[in-house]
């Protein structure tokens, strides 16, 4: 029997996830209000730039972290395609969170705008060229909407698992619970296996989770 810890993400992964979740949601909100406000644009832009750099630093740490800490196995409630979509959206989010701050930085470079975080002046990373700024500015907007869409899809998918399937998906990333107690796992194992059998029978009747000794047919 596994203990609860092995089915959760490692503590550094969970901490990074939630710190970044807060930063990214705040950043998206800042961006949205900023673009619609005559009065608060400068103030919000002054927050948006350094927060973008902080997100860039965190995503680099997070990419290193994900290479060091393997994620826990997939959920028994997720079929092959759902796992593929989940994996793909994870890559998409990581990619967007890496590229989006870099494009923002490059935009400022292309416009010839100074960029400083606190007392530190950051060097340009792209040539000063207006047409390049114009292109990057469009890409920054498109990726912002894509990031918002990915975030919303991610949120709804996790909520669907947590509130509709009630499979405890969220607790794998939770900071506030101890994960699943081992005894609890046993009490629900039969019911879960039954459910999984139903799920798998549609896609692949040979991949009975119990018969194979595996919860997910590969």
């Amino acid at each position: 029997m596994r203990n609860g810890a092995t089915v959760r993400y490692a503590l550094p992964s969970r901490l990074l996830h939630w710190i970044m979740a807060v930063m990214v949601v705040v950043q998206l909100l800042i961006a949205a209000v900023m673009m619609a406000s005559l009065a608060y644009y400068p103030l919000l832009l002054a927050l948006h730039k350094p927060l973008g750099i902080v997100i860039l630093i965190f995503i680099v740490i997070r990419i290193v972290n994900v290479l060091l800490h393997r994620p826990p196995p997939a959920m028994y409630t997720m079929g092959l395609w759902e796992r593929r979509v989940a994996k793909g959206s994870e890559f998409l989010l990581y990619g967007l969170l890496l590229i989006q701050p870099l494009i923002g930085w490059a935009m400022l470079s292309a416009a010839g705008d100074p960029l400083s975080v606190g007392p530190m002046h950051l060097p340009p990373i792209a040539p000063e060229q207006t047409s390049l700024f114009g292109a990057l500015r469009v890409v920054h907007s498109v990726l912002a909407y894509l990031l918002f869409a990915s975030f919303t899809a991610h949120l709804c998918a996790v909520l669907f698992h947590t509130l509709v399937l009630r499979d405890g998906l969220l607790s794998r990333m939770a900071l506030w619970t101890k994960g699943w107690a081992a005894d609890h796992v046993e009490t629900v194992a039969d019911e879960a296996a039954e459910h999984q059998a139903d799920v798998n029978s549609e896609a692949d009747s040979n991949a009975h989770p119990v018969k194979d000794g595996r919860w997910l047919g590969d």
Partner: protein, 367 residues
């Protein structure tokens, strides 16, 4: 989520009933909709009457038409280069690096107000001078100044309302006097500002105009003391020695005269005016009393005036909030609006095809 690792045992799981599933689905849908709606609200999508930077720029396009690659306001202009020689006197009021003795490169832009890049020059149209001073350690000071002693509007909403009210009628080619009159009746501050503007008639050209920053900024010195400051560029050439006007010579006479005048370096003194605590910092329509202390902090020299081209002033957004450390905005609502709308104008024109500006500075020089 990793397909290679062995699968997990089932987690704690409560039975799924139809009722709970429906409640769960509603919650998921509700939270998803709230997220999208909240974002849309933040983005201004649900409040079409709210004046956003994009809608501000839209109104300029509505009034003047859309002219690809040009600024939405102050569309007609010329690029200039030169330098700022700081005499060190400004360090008394601000720690900003620009006030330390030295010489700093300047890129500038002379312009006429309005969104038409080919409008004929007219002495009564507001003249602008934008400057970018490049400072050590990647700092910049950008400022966009005009040749009137006070601004005509106290808020961004008033500014755009006045612009729309005084839009030229497509049939007569002139503003509808009824609309203009109605606007002025509701805005005594604009009437008062116009009176001051009329008391300071424009000079013969760009080269001998006084340009003012109009908005007040906070200048902080080494002791941490902050004073409100307005600045202006006062021409070296006394206004009395101007040449006779050559208005009829060309549609672009103001710019052409500037090009000719720039065969010798043009110089302006940068003068800081220090405000007293009772002087308004949030209303650019109100002048400060004439007896306020001023400091001459150095000289701006323009030694080259050229047509707008890639890499020169054409590509600079003269955002009044790009400031060196030691200068900060105060409570003037125009500044934030200018910064946001200029950014919108810059974003739009930077993705459009650029067309050459009307004034061919080289041809004027050769003639």
């Amino acid at each position: 989520m990793n397909e290679d690792t062995p699968p997990a045992p089932p987690p704690s799981r409560e039975p799924v009933s139809r009722r709970r599933a429906l409640i769960g689905l509603s919650a998921v849908g509700g939270i998803g909709a709230a997220t999208i709606g909240g974002f849309g609200f933040a983005r201004g999508a649900l409040t079409p009457e709210k004046l956003t930077p994009a809608r501000f720029a839209d109104r300029f396009e509505h009034v003047f038409g859309r002219h690809e690659g040009f600024r939405r306001n102050h569309a007609k202009g010329l690029s200039a280069t030169g330098y700022f020689t700081s005499n060190g006197a400004g360090t008394v009021v601000s720690t900003a690096s620009v006030f330390r003795s030295g010489t700093y490169p300047v890129t500038g832009r002379f312009s006429l107000s309005g969104g038409l890049p080919c409008a004929p020059d007219n002495a009564s149209v507001v003249r602008g001078l934008g400057l970018q001073i490049d400072l050590p350690h990647g700092e910049q000071w950008r400022t966009a100044m005009v040749n009137i002693p006070v601004f005509l509007d106290s808020t961004p909403q008033n500014f755009i309302d006045r612009l729309v009210a005084s839009q030229a009628d497509p049939e007569t080619g002139k503003p509808d006097q009824k609309k203009v009159k109605a606007y002025l009746e509701d805005h005594p501050e604009t009437v008062a500002a116009m009176k001051i503007v009329h008391q300071h008639p424009p000079t013969s050209g760009f080269e001998n105009s006084t340009y003012r920053g109009l908005n007040a900024f906070g200048f902080t010195n080494e002791d941490g003391q902050t004073v409100p400051v307005r600045w202006m560029l006062v021409p070296e050439e006394p206004e009395g020695s101007e040449k006779p006007p050559q208005e009829q010579s060309s549609e672009d006479y103001l710019f052409e005269n500037l090009v000719r005048a720039s065969s010798a370096p043009l110089q302006w003194h940068l003068i800081l005016t220090l405000g007293q605590p009772e002087d308004p910092t949030n209303d650019a329509t109100k002048p400060w009393p004439d007896d306020r202390r001023t400091i001459d902090v150095g000289t701006v020299t323009i030694n080259s005036v050229r047509a707008e081209a890639p890499g020169n002033a054409r590509d600079i957004n003269f955002d009044p909030l790009v400031l060196p450390d030691g200068i900060t905005p105060l409570d003037d609502p125009l500044l934030a609006a200018r910064s946001s709308v200029y950014a919108q104008s810059f974003a739009r024109r930077s993705r459009e095809t650029h067309h050459p500006s009307k004034i061919d500075a080289e041809a004027v020089r050769r003639a």
